[in-house]
Amino acid sequence: MRRSTARKRLLALAGTALVAAIAFAGTALAHGGSLRTEAGSMSVPTWLFLLTGGGVVGASFLLASFVTDRALIRAIHDWRRVASAPLAGLTTVTQALSVLALVGVVAVGFDGPTDPLRNAAVLVVWVGWWAGYVATVYLVGNTWPALNPWRAVTQWLPTLDRNYPDKLGAWPSVVGLLALIWLEVVSPLADDPRLLATVIAGYSAVTLAGALAFGPDRWFGHVDPVARVFRYYGRVAPLRYGDDGLELRPPGAALAEPKLVDDADEVAFVVAILWVTTFDGLVGTPQWAEFAEAVVGAGVPAVVVYPSALVAGFGLFLWAYWTAARYSRQTADTYLTVGAIARRFAPSLLPIAAGYHLAHFLGYFLSLSPALASALTNPWNPPINPSVIVLPDWFGGLAVAFVLLGHLLAVWVAHASAYEVFPGRLQAVRSQYPFVIVMVLYTMTSLWIVSAPSAEPPFV
């Protein structure tokens, strides 16, 4: 009885929140859509557009703080449907297929057409895998363990089971993730099929050697950045395959569980996921081009600019997050250590990264998917002029909506986590003040990147 009135109240609240957010963001969305096409005739100045985005996230925190019924929050997060699904036998098939696909990608990369829009390897890796497949991981569920071709190969071979140095923790994956993104940004990996095939072959060699030396569980659990990104993104998704079968939960509910992030290296990895998605967009803005040209003009060697910006930005993001955790200890007036707070709330950053990824790559995926399809039908001799979908103007508004949706989910996950951690309900809300400030600032940054006109990164 009480549950149902509470649910009605929540529905009403969610409805109000949605209407308010739409009313708030309506003008801003129109603005975001028009920015890309006609930057000259904008009706809302950029500062106001960014401020509105920050305002929506701040307002959503205020609205979330109205939900103070612990039973209701638990009911939402504990809601689940489990279906038995005998999928275990299927993994051998999917793994075998994905090993074949890997071999095919490398072969077409080395030997197929050199035009990136016609080369199936380039299109499969960037459009099919990095844009499309990654989106399914956080929208549907993490299917990577069933596909990971490198893991499949190492499972079929005997491993050496050398001792992995435990003190390294997950730090190698943090370094690996930053290195991969650096490579992606500075080299023409998306334009040169030969280079892409070489990099994939090199990555395969390192991954196979490492996994065979330390065992696949250690390697893909601590070192391989790709498998680890998928594991974390998969926690945002509603579906999960476990011992009981296929489990359906509300999106993001799994992020409020304790011990998902259990050390400082894991916090760093989650922050790195957020930062590399941001950096990827940042280098495509005209402001970055201006900045890089000014720095190189001042005498700094061009090769240093990208790696140092990548590391400095990562340091800034980490610093901002840990500073928020430190202040959170004060605002919540708690005995929990700063580290405990930082670990507990790190997973709530993941929906933000997912929303940002979707904003950044959905348009890319849709517009290039016909080219992908035509290259796949005949990888060695695809049609000369692959068709590309031209997206309508309002699509830019959709990107802004994804960024905001990611933040709204993040605010909710953090709210629910705080209720799990802190016995006092006001204490829980107070613990979120510093995080919300950081989130509002981050929203404005990412909206600025998403709505900026695109430019070619210089010196790459």
């Binding site: 809302v44 401020l51 509105t52 701040g58 307002a59 205020l62 005995y335 929990l336 016995p423 006092g424």
Partner: protein, 119 residues
């Protein structure tokens, strides 16, 4: 600083904590987590160790939980006020920037109406 690392405790609720030496925390008898006040301890016990509590402690928890309601009500009112302020601030800024005299007049009228309603 006395560090008591609770991450190895068998209880799922174990958190790493550190208590300033001059403070005397209320320690949870079930999982050892130091709480910042007696009231928070009662709440913590009820939330995390409900099965192990006797009737007195359960009643104390229910009282404390309901008692939070007053603070929360005040807090919600403040948040609502803040929300209204933010909303109208945006409305004004938008109507100013868009140079649309009607929406700013409407916003002003709405605001006056709300204020009268509150009074």
């Amino acid at each position: 600083m006395t560090d008591s690392n609770l991450t190895d405790s068998p209880d799922e609720t174990g958190y790493e904590t550190s208590v300033p030496p001059e403070e005397s925390p209320a320690e949870c008898p079930y999982c050892g987590r130091p709480l910042e006040s007696e009231r928070l301890l009662v709440l913590h016990e009820g939330l995390d160790h409900w099965e192990r509590l006797d009737d007195d402690r359960r009643e104390a928890f229910q009282e404390a939980y309901v008692g939070e309601g007053d603070d929360l009500r005040t807090f919600r009112l403040k948040m609502l006020a803040l929300l209204v302020v933010v909303y109208f601030a945006f409305l004004f800024v938008y109507s100013y920037v868009m140079e649309d005299p009607f929406s700013s007049t409407n916003a002003a009228l709405l605001l006056v109406g709300c204020w009268r309603g509150v009074r």
